[in-house]
Subunit: 230 residues, 2 copies
Amino acid sequence: MEPLISARTNTAFIFDLDGTLLDSVYDHVMAWAQALRENGIEVPIWKIHRRIGMSGGLFTAALVRELGRDIDENTKHRLRDRHAELYNSVSAKIPPLPGTVALLKHLTENKIPWAIATSSHIKTAAPVLARLGVDPAKNVVITRDQVRYAKPDPDLFLAATEKLGVDITHACVVGDAVWDMLAAQRARALGVGFLSGGYGEDELIRAGAYRVFQDPADMLDHIDELGGRR
Amino acid sequence: MEPLISARTNTAFIFDLDGTLLDSVYDHVMAWAQALRENGIEVPIWKIHRRIGMSGGLFTAALVRELGRDIDENTKHRLRDRHAELYNSVSAKIPPLPGTVALLKHLTENKIPWAIATSSHIKTAAPVLARLGVDPAKNVVITRDQVRYAKPDPDLFLAATEKLGVDITHACVVGDAVWDMLAAQRARALGVGFLSGGYGEDELIRAGAYRVFQDPADMLDHIDELGGRR
């Protein structure tokens, strides 16, 4: 006899990219810090760190509030372009976080649906995805280009589950930033936090993470606890 | 009539340098990351971040445990030299954190004893101190060179209060790292944590911080709460 309720036995996993699968948060931080400094804008670096992973528009909006003065549109564009340029100049050397390839392989082999959803544009994400063995033609990848609003809005995660054909309330969002956890809550998904982006455990839990691991390798060691069974 | 107990009315403040007075933690992190990568040692960057501020010897010991294999003495020396070289190549551009100069000025003007105690060697610290207006001939500065063990051992803080001529149990250690807070507890000083090094508030409190502020400016705004009165 079939059990009455089976909808949530398995889970779909939606992964953030930077700081979650890829050890790139600190390079993003330093690229922003240098771009800002070159434009005469001094912001303490930890405050940049704590904003990585949110949409670029919200990042600059938060920056304006922090500075207490406006930044004109030209400067905003120049900052974004310079950040991309600086980041792209080092991104080829950035390694995946421990366990990334093994975790995605495990999910694929066990027919557990998964996707990647990132606040980055495809132009920035594409070379990195190639190195992780992720092919946007075969795997579900949602980038900034495909949604109106990035994190902490839920659009990226909703688009990912729609493309996977799963209900968002059966999905688990995996990310390293408070913005991933907030967007997961707004989407009514569960959130799993990774320490690999440099946030503290408590920050992730307060933002809604129902479980926190170090990195993909640590999550794979505990995959059965998350509905990641065959 | 004199009050019976006055010993703890005022407090001496012992400041960490990197990440506490100076916005240098992320540059230290990236210098270590690059030095390690150049030597074929891959460590996730957030784990480097969480070790900044502890003694160099303990840093490499922790690294060895993390890697699960030994690193020979030559490589350890090469790593330390390369880290110093990379850090020194950018350190002239590193700004003080908001409020650093104003906070030290406030303490000096109000005759509240203060000192700087850093796990760095004087060679690395000297140019930076000069930019903060701190003169080791006039102000109490304790560096790695002057003690046997650095943080999280209490030696740096004990040496600082000895030189100030105050009792360590009347002192307050101000730092951004868990290692500062642990060393403060071992010295029986109080600990005040700053978020400016990129740790989360909860990490600092769990390590013993009795108060957490964003940075020197935020501490100066609340100085009366800490015994920092005239």
